[in-house]
């Protein structure tokens, strides 16, 4: 079991940036596509620095930068993305297919840890960073990675989970990114939250007396991405829920051990 506290968090999606909009989304989730997306201005970065940031990187910076500004410098970063910058990869593949030379800039930024590296350079943060690509439980793996860093002595760790809406050519293979989104969490050591892998399913005899049917039925697959599901439960104050990926045997249970005001729930 992994325990931790979430000191701050922030979500970002096209047309979904303000806290009030997230509140509205949490009560009745909707797909924020459509309309003219609010472009990330990133006014806190000089143009010479932000020019190489991809759309996904801009989302990451817009989401996580204000969070990072409120905390102490030099905290480790865990960056997680299942699919990464599919738009950049697709562009590079198309260039190769056409027999043209690759853009050196795009090529050197096509690695999975490019956004984490740009974050480190632009913020001048020299603490370690990790770039993960996991199946549909990348959020949980990112949190585990962060908890291990906390246990190793770091006071806080920034977790960023980001996905970019892939080019339409990928539509048959990528079904879990209905729209681009970024979530950022500042984690600290603590016991506010527990994350457990494969909770024990109660025995059938206990089953009849157990009123918590949540323990028995497989959790429904939400229509919105799992990291956004965490934001939703944070906003709604949900005490406990489960997550299992569509193809994954792993089942996770998230449990809030104290209310947002810090009072124990038990």
């Amino acid at each position: 079991m992994f325990t931790f506290s979430i000191a701050q968090w922030q979500g970002w999606a096209e047309n979904l940036v303000d806290p009030q909009e997230w509140e509205r989304w949490a009560r009745a989730p909707f797909c924020p596509l459509g309309g003219k997306p609010k472009t990330s201005k990133l006014g806190f970065l000089p143009p010479i620095q932000r020019r190489r940031l991809s759309t996904l990187a801009r989302g990451v910076f817009e989401c996580a930068w204000p969070l990072a500004e409120k905390r102490r410098r030099n905290a480790p970063l865990v960056f997680a993305s299942r699919h990464g910058e599919t738009r950049r990869s697709f562009q590079l593949l198309q260039t190769l297919a056409a027999g043209e030379p690759l853009s050196p800039t795009s090529f050197c930024l096509s690695v999975h840890n490019a956004i984490a590296a740009q974050w480190s350079i632009m913020r001048g943060e020299t603490a370690e960073s990790v770039a993960l690509a996991a199946e549909d439980d990348g959020l949980e793996h990112a949190f585990i990675e962060a908890v291990l860093m906390l246990r190793a002595g770091h006071e806080e760790v920034l977790v960023v989970v980001a996905e970019e809406r892939p080019p339409s050519a990928y539509a048959r293979w990528i079904a879990d990114v209905p729209h681009s989104y970024v979530t950022a969490f500042q984690l600290r050591s603590g016991n506010d939250w527990s994350l457990t892998l494969n909770p024990v399913v109660p025995s059938p005899t206990k089953l009849t007396r157990d009123t918590d049917s949540m323990q028995l039925a497989p959790p429904p697959t939400p229509l919105w991405p799992n990291p956004l599901n965490l934001l939703r439960h944070l906003l709604l104050g949900t005490l406990s829920w489960q997550h299992a990926g569509a193809n994954s045997p792993r089942r996770w249970r998230w449990t809030r051990n104290s209310t947002p005001s810090g009072q124990p729930t038990a």
């Binding site: 143009p47 010479i48 932000r50 020019r51 190489r52 030379p101 853009s103 050196p104 800039t105 050197c108």
Partner: protein, 87 residues
């Protein structure tokens, strides 16, 4: 009036390197492009070299002497391209 090669190169630098908030008029012909000047770096040099090869059908031989000088300013780049095209 046709655009001068220098003016064309300024637009190419801005487009190829994604320089936001900069117009061709902001770049002086003799001002340094790299380091303390416009602030370009080694990745920009590669990107710019590729853009020049595509646009002007020139070949840039890494063994060329004084390559650093050729890329140091718009004026030097223009001279380098005229020289290559004449060769």
């Amino acid at each position: 009036m046709t655009q001068s090669l220098e003016q064309e190169l300024k637009s190419l630098v801005i487009d190829a390197l994604g320089l936001e908030d900069i117009t061709p008029d902001d770049i002086e012909n003799t001002a340094p492009l790299f380091g303390d000047g416009l602030g370009l770096d080694s990745v920009d040099a590669l990107e710019l070299g590729l853009a020049l090869q595509k646009r002007y059908k020139i070949t840039i031989d890494p063994e060329t002497r004084n390559m650093r000088d050729h890329f140091s300013s718009i004026a030097n780049l223009a001279a380098f391209i005229r020289n290559q095209q004449a060769a």
